[in-house]
Each structure stands twice: as C-alpha cells, then as structure tokens.
C-alpha cells in the first residue's frame, strides 16, 4: 500500500520536475506525452491501491501510510502521512483518471502554444497537489495540498500571462482562495484545540466525546471549514472567481475548474462528516449555501453569452448540488454526482474547446451557430454531455442527481425544501444547457462553420481577446496561432470518446434497487455515521424522483428547443418584456459590485490611508528619516575633522597624548 500511495503522489511530481528541467533539452512535443504518462502511472497506481483495498476485510479498509514524521512537538503532530480509505481512493481514481484524459486532450489542443512545456509542468503540478489534498491523512497535509491547488489554479488561469484579463482573473481567484485557506486553517485550529490531534482518524474518533451536539467551538470550526470549502468550490458568496477563471486555456477549465479542483470542497465536507454530524447547525448552513448557489448559478447560466462561462455557471450550480448533498448527510449522492459530473463536465468543456478552436478563439454564443454538420463528433459529445447534465435517463447524471434529491427527501424534515429547489434547478439546468447547444450547433451556419464544411479550418484575420476584443499577437504569453478541433486530432478524439462513454454509463455504479456498488465501496469510510446506512429513500421516493427528474429534464430541453430553434425571435421578446430580471441576471446578481463596495473599496481605502499617513509620515518620516538624519549629522561632524593635512593630524595626536599624560599626572598627585 505504501508503494502505491507513494507512486500516486510521486509520478506527477517527478513528471512536473522533469518536464520543467528539460524544457530546453527535449523537444516540446515529448513533454506532452511525458506529462500524460506521469498521470497514467498515477492512475495505474490508484487502481492498484483500489484493488489492494478491496482485498482487505471490510473493517481494515482505512490504511494510514506514515511517510515521515515531520514534527511531533508541543502537542502538535505534524506528520506526512497518507490516508488510503475508500473515499480517498475514489477521489484519487476520479482525479487521476480524468486528468489523464485531459492531458491527452491537451497534447493536441495546446499544440500551437509557445508555452506548451510550461503548460504540462503546471498541469502535472496541479495533479500532484490535488492528489496530495485527497490522500492527506491529517489537517496539516490537507492544508498543504489545499494551498498548492490554489497556487496551481492561479498559475494556470494566468497561463496566458500577457493577457491583462487573464492575470486579473488569476489574482482574483488566488485572493478568494486565500480567504478560503485562512478559513480552513482557523477551522482546523478550533477542532485541534479540543481533539488534540491533527490526524483525521484519531481526531474524528474523539469528536463525539469532546464535543456536545452543536457546541459553539465545533460549530465555529465547521463554519470556518465551510468558508474554505465554499471558496474552493465557488459557492455563493465566494464564487465570483470561477467565471473569471475561464480566462485560462480550455483544458484547464475542464480539469481544474470543472472536474477536480472545485470539487475539493465537496470532498472536504464529505471527509469531515463526523464533525458536521455533530454540528448540524453548521451543516445546515452549508446545505442552504449550496442550494442558493445552485439556483443563482442556474439563473445566470440562462443569460450568459460566453460559451465557456455558461458551462462555468453550470459547474457552480452542479457543485451546489453536491455541497447541498454532503452537508445534508447525503454523502453517497454528493460523491456519486461528483464522479459523473467530472465525466460529463470535462466532456462538455472539451467539446466547447473544440468549438472555440473552430471559431478561432471566439467564445461568444451570439456569433456561433450551425456547427452541427461541420463538427459531427463534437456535436455528438456535446449532446451526450448535455443529456447527462440535464439528467435524462439513462445517462449518468440522471442517476446521480436523482440520488441527491432522493436522499434529501428521505431526510424527512425541512430538507424537502432543498429537494424542491433542486428540482427547479434541474429544470433550469436543462434549459441553459440546451440553450447553449442549440445556439452553437443549430440555426444558420456562421462563416467558420461554412468554411469547416468546405474542409477549411477558419482563422481569424486578427487575434483578439474574447473578453474585451483587444488585439493580441500569438507570441509567448498569448494563445498560439494554431487551433485544433476534435474532428482532426486523434488524441482529442480519444480523450473525448472515453469520457463520452463514461458520461453515458457512469451511472451504472449506483442504480437504486439494481446495483449498490458505490454505496458498498464507500461504506468503510462512513462507518459509524448516523445517516449513511439508515438514510434509505423509499421506493416511491426513488421512482417518483426518477419520473419527475426525467420529466423536468425533458421539459427543459423542449422549452429550449422551442425558444431557440423553433421560434428564435421569441427570446428577444421575452428579454424585452423582462428587462429588469434579465439585466439582474446578466450582471450576475450584482455580486461583483456588492463585493467591490463592501470589501474591495473599504480595504483599498484603508490601504491608501495607511500609505499616506502611517507609511509616509510615521515610518518614512520619523523612523527611517530620523535614524538616517542622525547618522548623517554625526558623519558630517566626523568628516569635517578629516581635513587631509598631515601636520594637523600630528598636532592632534600630540595634543591628545599630552592631555592624556597631564590627566594621569593630575590623577596620580
């Protein structure tokens, strides 16, 4: 088990270092394959760990591998130890598996970029950090991984570092993530203070003894941990960085900002289940936050015109479902949805990347249309991803979303409100997903689509920033001149095909009353949970939910079809009639403006005040100026004595010696 766990972590780390060090030595094309290979090794090791775990008896399926005892002093046990239990193996499998496919996709997709090698070094570093995060056996290592993925996310969002909007987005993401990091660290402190250990398993075993139900410190700790989870998982009100993160290259959006990193909050809330079950008040806050996010994000997704941002809001919304589930003790549903979402959302992003490439970097839905015939493969992938996302049977998203909502109903208390909101969200999901697909692939073929049908890939006359329209060149730090679409690139096609298959059949791991694989697999992690075994939706809830979910999904698709294919002039009319609501949604519920007014401006004002008053007057004027002034005056006096006249020095010397002699004579007499 030690070998497997180390291999999982070291393969991406070594990949990152080797790629970074050999960037001048080896041809850059090789680095793409090296990166993919490193992740493939990590994936193989994850499978090895999975099989090893399954061979063990049920009660021994929580293995702690102690790599190194970093420091055990003053009551703090900071160890580099890895926890291999069903939950971490599950996450490692999803992370390394999806990452491997996205690396494969990037090998072609990023082919024309001058930063090709850098891209793969960053990407491998990200996978290492993410695997470190999910395999950590204590808070200490978890925080390290948590901060590392934040840094990797920053590096990759700002990958095109000469694009002003991209660097701004990277900074925004990093700052909001640091807010989350601080929350996580402080929350850890609250827990550590009482349980006395940083280790997960030993700490969780003591939670029920040291904390009473809803004890103040525990609730505070859980809420602070939730701050960390919300910032990383882009939940309201710490979500504003995620749409901006779409400035990064599309594979980054697929990997980090859809499939893996943003689900870290879901993992965290699931991992901390003993804390949240003892602090239901904090769990309820998390569940309501997730529910709000899923509705808010879905409404924004309805009006956004940027192809990638539609999917980004969809990601926020789906993670809202997961957080809502894990905070309502529906761990199975949340994690199941995490897995299927990783498949179909990565697929949707890859398909979107292919479309954006065909549009030569243009991301605006208003300028797209009619790609159905020009890009049949991409269209098929988009449709599969869209069906899975909308929860149409028998695609994977159908089962996972239904699992969440059924578990919420099975709680049999006020959580039913969340379930209703979830169904509303499911309808909205179908509408915005298919709005995006219909607008990009149906309707009149735009020029790039027509050129592609004629066998020619469209190239824009000038390269522009899709967000601002500024002109850019294709040098280092900007997107490359070449574009690659899935139809023409084998590796992109392969990665998308595998994900498409998984998006279709992924639901098979947990079909109510048929298969119970995921439930059985995860059970050792949640042994002792109040809800995991007992929260069992009744058959009427399950099948009622199936029917309702499928009906809402189909209704949403039908509405989207009616609005954007049958009567394309209707949306404009509706928009005109609901101008207020539309503008409210287009401005993303004014969250950016709210945060700007409440936090950014006061902090900036404090900063200016500090600079003008404290820094300039006190520090620079009194401390620095005073010290340097005294030294300068003293040195001027000493310098005046150094006239350079030899005889003057001699006279002073003689005078001094005489004075000294006189002093001793007087003192002696």
């Amino acid at each position: 088990m030690t070998t497997f766990s180390l291999l999982i972590l070291l393969a991406p780390l070594v990949g990152c270092i080797v790629i970074a060090l050999t960037f001048r030595v080896l041809p850059s094309k090789l680095h793409g394959y090296m990166g993919t290979l490193a992740i493939a090794v990590a994936f193989a090791a994850s499978i090895g760990a999975f099989l090893n775990l399954q061979d063990r008896p049920r009660e021994e399926r929580q293995v702690v591998v102690e790599v190194w005892n970093l420091a055990s002093t003053a009551g703090v046990d900071a160890q580099l130890s890895l926890l291999l239990d069903p939950l971490s193996i599950f996450m490692a499998l999803v992370v390394s598996g999806v990452s491997m496919l996205i690396h494969l996709y990037s090998v072609s997709y990023m082919g024309g970029d001058r930063g090709y090698t850098r891209f793969f070094a960053y990407l491998n570093f990200f996978v290492f950090s993410m695997l470190l995060l999910v395999l950590a056996a204590n808070f200490f290592l978890l925080i390290v991984g948590w901060a590392f993925v934040g840094a990797a996310s920053y590096l990759l969002i700002s990958f095109w570092y000469r694009r002003r909007t991209a660097t701004a987005a990277g900074i925004k993401a990093f700052v909001i993530n640091v807010v989350g990091d601080v929350g996580l660290v402080l929350g850890t402190y609250f827990i550590f203070k009482h349980v006395g250990t940083l280790d997960f398993l030993r700490g969780f075993a003591r939670v029920d003894q040291v904390f009473t139900r809803n004890e103040g410190d525990l609730v505070a700790g859980c809420l602070l941990i939730l701050v960390g989870a919300f910032a990383k998982s882009a939940q309201v009100p710490l979500h504003t960085w995620l749409p901006d993160a779409m400035e990064g290259p599309t594979p980054v959006s697929a990997l980090i900002h859809a499939a893996t990193m943003v689900t870290a909050g879901v993992y965290l809330t699931a991992r901390m289940w003993p804390l949240f079950e003892q602090a239901p008040a904090a769990a309820d806050v998390g569940a309501i936050g997730g529910c709000l996010t899923l509705l808010i994000a879905a409404t924004i997704g309805l009006v956004v015109t940027d192809l990638k941002r539609v999917i980004a809001y969809s990601t926020m919304s789906q993670i809202g479902y997961m957080i809502m589930a894990t905070c309502s003790a529906g761990y199975l549903g949340g994690l199941f949805h995490l897995m299927t979402h990783a498949f179909f959302k990565a697929l949707l992003f890859m398909a979107a990347g292919s479309v954006i490439a065909a549009m030569a970097g243009e991301q605006n839905l208003d300028r797209m249309g009619g790609f159905r015939r020009a890009m049949p493969f991409t269209f098929a992938c988009m449709v599969i991803g869209g069906l899975a996302l909308s929860g149409i049977p028998p695609f994977s998203g159908f089962f996972s979303k239904d699992e969440i909502l059924a578990l919420l109903v099975a709680r049999d208390d006020w959580h039913i409100v969340l379930a209703v909101a979830g169904y509303v969200g499911a309808f909205l999901t179908a509408v915005y997903t298919w709005r995006m697909i219909f607008r990009a692939f149906y309707g009149e073929a735009v020029e790039p689509a027509r050129e592609l049908e004629g066998g020619h890939l469209y190239h824009a006359p000038t390269h522009t920033n899709p967000a601002t329209g500024e002109e850019e060149d294709t040098d280092v730090g900007f997107p490359g001149p070449e574009h690659h679409i899935a139809e023409r690139e084998g590796s992109m096609k392969a990665a998308m095909s595998v994900l498409a298959v998984l998006a279709v059949i992924g639901g098979v791991v947990q079909i109510p009353n048929v298969t119970n694989w995921l439930h059985d697999f995860l059970e050792p992690t949640f042994a002792g949970s109040r809800y995991y075994e007992t929260l069992e939706p009744s058959n009427s809830v399950i099948y009622g939910g199936f029917t309702l979910g499928a009906a809402l999904g189909l209704a949403g698709i039908a509405l989207a079809y009616r609005l954007w294919v049958v009567q394309p002039e209707r949306p404009a009319a509706i928009r005109a009639r609901l101008a207020g609501v539309h503008s409210f949604f287009v401005h993303k519920w004014y969250f950016d403006e709210l945060i700007d007014t409440l936090i950014v401006r006061p902090v900036a004002w404090c900063g200016r005040f500090g600079r003008n008053v404290f820094e300039r007057v006190v520090v620079n004027g009194v401390f620095v100026g005073g010290t340097s002034g005294a030294v300068r005056a003293g040195s001027a006096a000493v310098r005046a004595a150094q006239s350079g006249f030899l005889r003057y020095y001699a006279a002073l010397l003689a005078l001094g010696v005489t004075a000294l002699g006189l002093y001793f004579l007087l003192a002696a007499s």
């Binding site: 310098r639 150094q642 350079g644 030899l646 005889r647 001699a650 003689a654």
Partner: protein
Amino acid sequence: MSIEWYLVVSALVFCIGLGGILTRRNPLVILLCLELMLNAGNLALVAFSRAHGNQQGQIFALIVMVVAACEVAVGLGLIVAIYRRRLPIDVDELRELQG
C-alpha cells in the same frame, strides 16, 4: 650622573622632533624629525634601564630601533614613489585623503 639629566635631554630632543614635524612640510624632514623622537624615547629607555639596573629597557630600545628601521623603509619608499609620480614633495599639497 643622576637620571634627571638624561631625561631632560631626552625630553628636549623629543620636543625638537615634535616641533619639526609640526612646522616642516618636506616629508623627508618630517621623517628625520620622527627619527629624533624615536631616539629620544630610546635614550629615556636606556637611562631607565641603567637606573633600574636590568636589561629590559635596552631590549626595548633595540626593538624600537627595528621598528624605526621598518618605518624609515616604508617612509622613504613613499617618498620615492611620490617623487617618481612627479607629485609635489610637500605634505600640505598631498591631502587627497580627506573626508
């Protein structure tokens, strides 16, 4: 003869040397005056040595002579260097090392 006479002579020679250093501008003369001061010291040392009846003062005097020889070597070397670079042989003119 009592020791006072030796000391008076020594003090006189020392003061003559000091006066020369303070008033003359030629480095060569300054070196000579320095030598006078050192030898005044030597005279005092030897006188004390006789008065006390042991050899320590004489050994000191020998050491002072060695130091004086070194000092003359360095000083004359400096003067030769000044002469070779055609700088004025005048300590008041050589005052670039000011603060």
